[in-house]
Subunit: 389 residues, 2 copies
């Protein structure tokens, strides 16, 4: 795999750091908010003799607690329909491996989470992009547009909802459109719902597993990384009512023995987190989102669409080449010893040439730091020699 | 992948448990000894804000501490030559992926750790077995025998030393023979050394990385699972001085983002474990090994070779079909409400039909329980209807 545009920035960031610059990291979805204390409490109280393998499918009590948690959210699944994985990453690879044969295709709206491409490579399958556009807030393409992409090798559609890198939340009607399409063409829906808790629409976000009439063709991906700021615990879930998919994924899980036991123990604690935690986290991210949107929209030539979920915005800058702007702001720019690292959006498009004027901003810093980061972006856009308007 | 002989035993074990039987688990390499308290202490003292991604290659301080630890053992490597992985399992997949192209071959002495086959499937490569024999203590085949297996597709030889499932420890001369072969045929050596600390020969066991004249063709696999009873921490290492291998493995590591952070934090603590821990653990396993060998050799018709390392023995039983015996001892046998689960050795041979009279016994129970387990095996062999002599 070629180095991604984000990785290409690493030496520029390292050089800036070496010069003593403070860098605001808006480039990676690494939340700064605190994990639930219940996570640490469960770890502290665990048997400290040793750390044993868990069953390949996960600790039974964890799968039961997860099933109850989904049921509370109106997602009806049994513990047997939940496979514990080494983060959402592994769940996505297992899903692709279980659903697609090598060489087959999964349709994915772009801009997309860049690692989908890597996971598809690992599974030996092809991610076929369907382009969404900043002009209409990266809205889900129409059923007709999806249908035009479906060919004999198409086995699945993969959507991330709420969406990374766009912050888009899909409507029930849009999800139902995908359901009808999946039934009509006998394909699967893979729903990456790891940002479920980050929904600012005021209405509940529907899980693909709540769609009626398509029990056997949905595979949902979940993770503890984002909802509890536990990216390093490496714990995720593949949830499906399709027994064949679950059996195939289980065999893949058995080949790698066990998902991380410590993350599982802590997660059993995190599942007892009171509702106030989620409300506090959501209101914190909404404050940041509001700040980010108002600051960006006040900048000349910047296009910032509505952001309804997750903690990302993909925005258009008045620059010819955002890859270069992201290098320049790290390498040449300096606002009182501070600068910003952002992810060039070109890395989130599979279609070559798209997203050249866009960047992804992860608002994973508190409002004070985020405000300072926006000061940097604003000043940098004024100074940048490659500005277009 | 077909279900392994061990997995086929699972329903028999479940049924025995449902009948209220106590089962001595000699079937899996899940150590019962305590992990170093330093592991837990480091976790307790860690920043409890949240659990962040680590760099894909591992936390820098951990890689530095590991390098120092290797240097203390006479294995000269730098932190940059150590890639942190999600357990030894992932390190093995990365090693195969980095060294072999799809369809190429790695030669592995059999009986072998059964998951090597699964890892080879994941990497799209072929594990070619070279058979070792219980009659000569599963000694490493001669250089000539290895050479006869080397063909145009051969890219590596993989050995586990000290060995799972045989408990064999290879001599310096044997390792040097493999080195010369690797140089002659321009192939790699993959050394699975996760049992390094479990060496009962009284002489140091040489790491492949200590062989002279072959710096660039050795990839060593390490893990915290066995040495510190941390199987569930899912933390391992790929160690190599070959920069191209390291770069390729790093790209694979970047695709899965981060190895487990909690395991890394704990491991930094575990690396400060005093020497007495390892001595205590080794002497405990040697006591068990002595008990196991003496009990097995006292049983009519049982062949138990010398065991010099790891915590396994592959032994020959006076039965036609050890797969069936392992089912029978779980399903039909009962010694005061107790019985034994063992791993049929057929699952450790890639050549069909081999190992039918052998089982692998993991001596991961204390001497009292191990003695009771041996009582069961002894009594069962007397009662078993399929006995051969």
């Amino acid at each position: 795999m070629p180095a991604s545009p984000i990785r290409k920035l690493a030496p520029f960031a390292a050089a800036a750091k070496a010069r003593g610059m403070e860098i605001f990291h808006l480039n990676i979805g690494q939340p700064d908010v605190a994990s639930p204390p219940e996570f640490w409490k469960a770890l502290d109280e665990a048997d400290h003799t040793n750390v044993a393998y868990s069953p390949s499918e996960g600790i039974p009590e964890l799968r039961e607690a997860m099933a109850k948690d989904y049921q509370k959210k109106g997602i009806n699944v049994t513990p047997e329909q939940i496979l514990t994985t080494t983060a959402g990453s592994e769940a996505l690879v297992f899903a692709m491996t279980a659903i697609l044969n090598p060489g087959e295709e999964v349709i994915v709206p772009e801009p997309m989470y860049a690692n989908y491409i890597g996971f598809a490579v690992m599974a030996g399958v092809k991610a076929v992009p369907i382009t969404t556009h900043i002009e209409d807030g990266f809205a889900l393409p129409s059923v007709e547009d999806f249908e035009a992409k479906i060919g004999p090798k198409t086995k699945a559609i993969l959507v991330c909802n709420p969406g990374n890198p766009t912050g888009t939340v899909y409507t029930d009607e849009q999800l139902e459109g995908l359901r009808d399409l999946a039934i009509k063409h006998d394909i699967f829906l893979i729903a990456d719902e790891v940002y479920r808790e980050f929904n600012y629409t005021g209405k509940p976000v529907k899980s693909m597993l709540q769609l009626e009439g398509i029990d056997d063709r949905v595979v949902m991906i979940d993770s503890v990384s984002k909802k509890w700021s536990l990216c390093g615990a490496r714990l995720g879930f593949l949830v499906s009512r399709n027994e064949e998919v679950n059996q195939t994924a289980l065999r893949a899980a058995q080949a790698r023995l066990s998902p991380p036991t410590l993350g599982q123990i802590g997660t059993m604690g995190a599942l007892t987190t009171p509702a106030s935690y989620y409300e506090d986290v959501r209101s914190e991210y909404m404050k940041r989102r509001d700040l980010l949107v108002s600051r960006l929209r006040a900048m000349d030539g910047v296009v910032c669409p509505d952001i309804n979920g997750a903690f990302y915005a993909t925005v258009k800058l008045p620059v010819e080449d955002a890859d270069h702007f992201c290098e320049w702001i790290l390498g040449e720019f300096d606002l009182n010893g501070k600068t910003v690292m952002m992810a060039p959006a070109s890395g989130f498009y599979e279609t070559p040439g798209l997203g050249k004027q866009e960047v992804r901003i992860a608002y994973v810093l508190n409002c004070e730091k985020l405000g300072e980061a926006m000061d940097c972006v604003e000043a940098a856009l004024k100074q940048y020699p490659g500005r277009t308007n």
